[in-house]
Symmetry: C2
Subunit: 336 residues, 2 copies
């Protein structure tokens, strides 16, 4: 079996071959092809005067590397693309840093890179610059990826948690907790195979479908920490309270099952393809309709509202309101 | 002893605290302060019409974390800043992704972050967006960092390996192999403590001192794989040969000692603050003088020339010319 060796990260011939045979081929684009130490990107095609540059990064350490609905390579494009996209920008260029463990199956690396390249290409994103490090066996677990992404925020958009005000309405773009429940099922061998699937997706098309609408105050994707973490972020920045209704939360039956089985709350589960959007009350139905008209937002729902009284609260199925604390930690590590 | 826990990477309260207490404090700047999922950067202050965006990334996995002349945090700024700078751009914004091992001493993380913040601030670079993952004990060795950097390449600069032509002259900006020899000495306990020191430095000021000069064809910093790797890159892209003189290579005596002791070639040793520049012959003395006038280039030297005959060759101290192959791998892993 061909494996990754320390030489693949050494700056010598083996590394040149890895770059030429795998990365340059998979990510093929004119900026990468120059093989300089940096990509040189034509800004004029991306931006107009007054636009801002959206810039975001994430590292991906998910275990296992492959899961229903995706893999670490797809995730490394989707996650960073979404962090750029929720500003209203269209992610265009991405950097990619691999940290590989000596002895990693070369075929595994190829599968991951191929998936990354396909996800990027489908989303109109070019992987324009990169780096590979190989560490000795035991110094890292298989494969980690970092990506950083760039896009232009049109000058007329200024979404942000600081715009959120009492009376606004809180929407989610679809079912909650699918990614977290899928990984939990795999890692804890809960036996729900076939019913659970990560929602891992590039959300740019869904977001672009609503950028022309009035009334959007803030938009984030709910990843680690789930919708609950985003609600706490909105609450902290806006100094408002967030109140949601348990009955309104869109949940797949299998995710609901995992939650009941383990006594966990899907609001804390990671998503990799869901938005939490705050919208002015009189524009909320319009935004909801537009989201639902897009395949990535078909199960979008209004889940609550912004209030003056600080804190994050949920009204349960029997009408009892309780405080939703931000947990000290998520149910499990290496979820993304 | 306070240590890093899995909760610090979970998206919950512990992570919020780590971000607020350590990262936001150390990297303090207005773009980071908005706490959105992406930094939104005012492009108009950075670029003029026709400029390109220079974008580069590197992961840092160096072992040990601290070494004479630097640490992984300083390195993570210098390395990426230099990869952006060698295009002629001034690096302005950097992203930062940490992968931390559960159980890492919190004080170690603080030292690294503080060093990173100081290096960035001294160089006029803002760390504007970031991410933290924590993996269970044994899934990573202590601490890895990825940075991605952005700067603007002025539209009149177009340095690149594809400009290199026979007759051009090859310069280096100072002594070779200091970083590699320093790490080798530490890892192999060679006992040369006190004499070796990494050259880890942000080279932007040195490079900016020559951007106004005519005749510069190509510029790269010689990191992993050393000057030899850069010469092979130049040779491959330009389809020319590279010939250098061993007697011209600037070397610290202690580095020369390490090489003789182990039978290794300093041309293959990593640097973290040295440039390899190709200049038109009639402009070479001017560029050399300008480099030497700057503290970071005081020991700059002309080391050889570009020729028609393909390959990379070195003329030894006794006048014998030999081919310089690119080794399959560097002397040691985790050098940067």
């Amino acid at each position: 079996m061909k494996t990754v060796t320390l030489a693949h990260g050494s700056g010598g011939q083996a590394m040149q071959q890895l770059i030429a045979q795998l990365f340059m081929h998979a990510f093929d684009n004119p900026w990468l092809a120059t093989q300089e130490d940096q990509a040189r990107l034509p800004l004029d095609v991306l931006t107009k005067s007054g636009d801002h540059l959206a810039f975001s990064t994430d590292s991906y350490v998910i275990d296992p590397l492959f899961f229903p609905g995706g893999d670490i390579g797809k995730l490394a494009i989707c996650g960073t693309a979404n962090d750029v996209s929720v500003s209203g920008a269209i992610p265009r260029w991405i950097s990619c840093g691999f940290i590989l463990e000596e002895g990693l199956d070369y075929g595994t690396l190829e599968r991951v890179v191929t998936s990354m390249a396909k996800t990027a290409r489908d989303a109109g994103i070019a992987v324009v610059t990169g780096d590979t490090k190989v560490v000795p066996r035991g110094a890292a677990d298989k494969l980690f990826i970092n990506t950083a992404g760039i896009g232009a925020v049109p000058h007329h958009l200024n979404w942000g948690a600081n715009q959120v005000a009492p009376g606004d309405v809180i929407l989610v773009s679809g079912t909650l907790g699918d990614h977290g429940a899928t990984i939990l099922n795999l890692r804890e061998s809960l036996g729900l195979d076939g019913e659970l699937r990560s929602d891992c997706a590039v959300l740019t098309p869904l977001i672009q479908a609503v950028t022309g609408l009035q009334g959007i105050k803030a938009m984030r994707d709910a990843t680690r920490g789930g919708v609950n973490a985003v609600l706490h972020e909105y609450a902290a920045v806006s100094a408002c309270g967030m109140e949601i209704n348990e009955a309104s939360l869109p949940l797949h039956p299998a995710v609901r099952g995992v939650c009941e089985l383990l006594g966990l709350d899907a609001l804390n589960f990671a998503n990799e393809g869901k938005l939490v959007i705050v919208v002015a009350r009189d524009k909320a139905e319009g935004v909801l309709a537009q989201l639902r008209a897009h395949p990535l937002g078909a199960e979008a729902a209004i889940i609550g509202e912004v209030v003056e009284r600080k804190g994050v609260r949920v009204t349960g199925l029997y009408g009892v309101k309780r405080t939703l604390d931000l947990p000290h930690a998520e149910p499990l590590p290496r979820i993304c």
